[in-house]
Symmetry: C2
Subunit: 194 residues, 2 copies
């Protein structure tokens, strides 16, 4: 591995972190490298800097492309593929969340919906279904929230996040100003709320 110490530390860390995330070490390292690099890199650059095989880099880049995490581009008069990450880190976050949702939440939701359609054949199944419904509703709430804030432009999003729970204060203020008549309680409430 042939990198400035500062960069190497980060690249190595990301490689290890990758494992906890279900992506392999090389993929993590490639991504970290591209993230830190000012200029787009071609496959050979990556091979040199990380000291892994050309084919491994090829596979890694393919995976990163499948995740939409890297951008492929060309330099005039050079037919090699160059790769980079978006300059805007918020774009990266958005892509990451989007892709993870697609791979992890969506299939789970499909399965939950299917299972929830079925007729429980026992008390045990009935209870299991109830638990699955809770999970389904939770995911729905969470993805709904995400779909919603995801549309905000970055500035407003940051504003919202910075505010955090202080929003709550404003909400209360609003409630006091405009008394909402009988805000409907449709969802059956879970009594246990520790």
């Amino acid at each position: 591995m042939n990198l400035p110490p500062l960069v190497q530390t980060f690249v190595l860390h990301f490689g290890e972190m990758g494992s906890r995330w279900g992506i392999n070490r090389t993929v993590g390292q490639i991504y970290a490298l591209l993230y830190l690099s000012k200029e787009p890199l071609n496959a050979e650059d990556i091979v040199e800097r990380l000291g892994v095989s050309r084919s491994n880099v090829s596979m890694g880049l393919k995976e990163l492309q499948a995740w939409n995490l890297v951008r492929l581009q060309h330099k005039p008069g050079d037919r090699r593929d160059y790769f980079s990450t978006p300059d805007d880190i918020w774009q990266i976050v958005r892509t990451l969340v989007e892709e993870r949702k697609k791979r992890e939440i969506d299939p789970t939701m499909t399965l939950l919906r299917e299972v929830l359609m079925q007729e429980p054949a026992s008390t045990e199944e009935r209870h299991a279904q109830e638990r699955m419904r809770e999970m389904h509703d939770l995911f729905e709430l969470l993805t709904g929230w995400y779909a919603d804030v995801q549309r905000l432009d970055t500035e407003r999003l940051v504003q919202l996040l910075t505010l955090g729970s202080k929003v709550q204060k404003i909400l209360e203020m609003k409630d006091r100003l405009f008394v909402v008549p009988g805000s409907k309680k449709s969802r059956r409430d879970d009594p246990k709320d520790k």
Copy 2:
């Protein structure tokens, strides 16, 4: 594997999902089983239902305990260990986020802080540091937001999530109502905002 079909579907799915999450199949399956089960289960119950070895279950339970994801309890006159998941799914979410933060974000933040202290030895390192600072600031914003909303009780949290970006509307309204004089812009703004 000896489970009602409906439960089996879910358990199997979670097992597979586990792989994408850096936890192994058995751990995923054990957790899914406990999540769906009305009654706490002991290790032998789990062995029977999942059809894996006793030692594998022991390891799996140990890992789930390390994650704080299962609760250990005892039945009177029975010295076996029984395991269950919290009834409140929001408690589960909180634990999950907490633990992932502890294992993934915190070590990364430590590393970022260390690296940001160092003196860059080249333009390349300078740029890399700049990128790391962006990541650092991003994580700080995100964890700050989380630390904040995490304190809300579940009802208010749900309220907030349900509202989503509509909060924005209320914020604008507030701004119009109470014109804040010279709202200080402490945080240095990133010019690129695509």
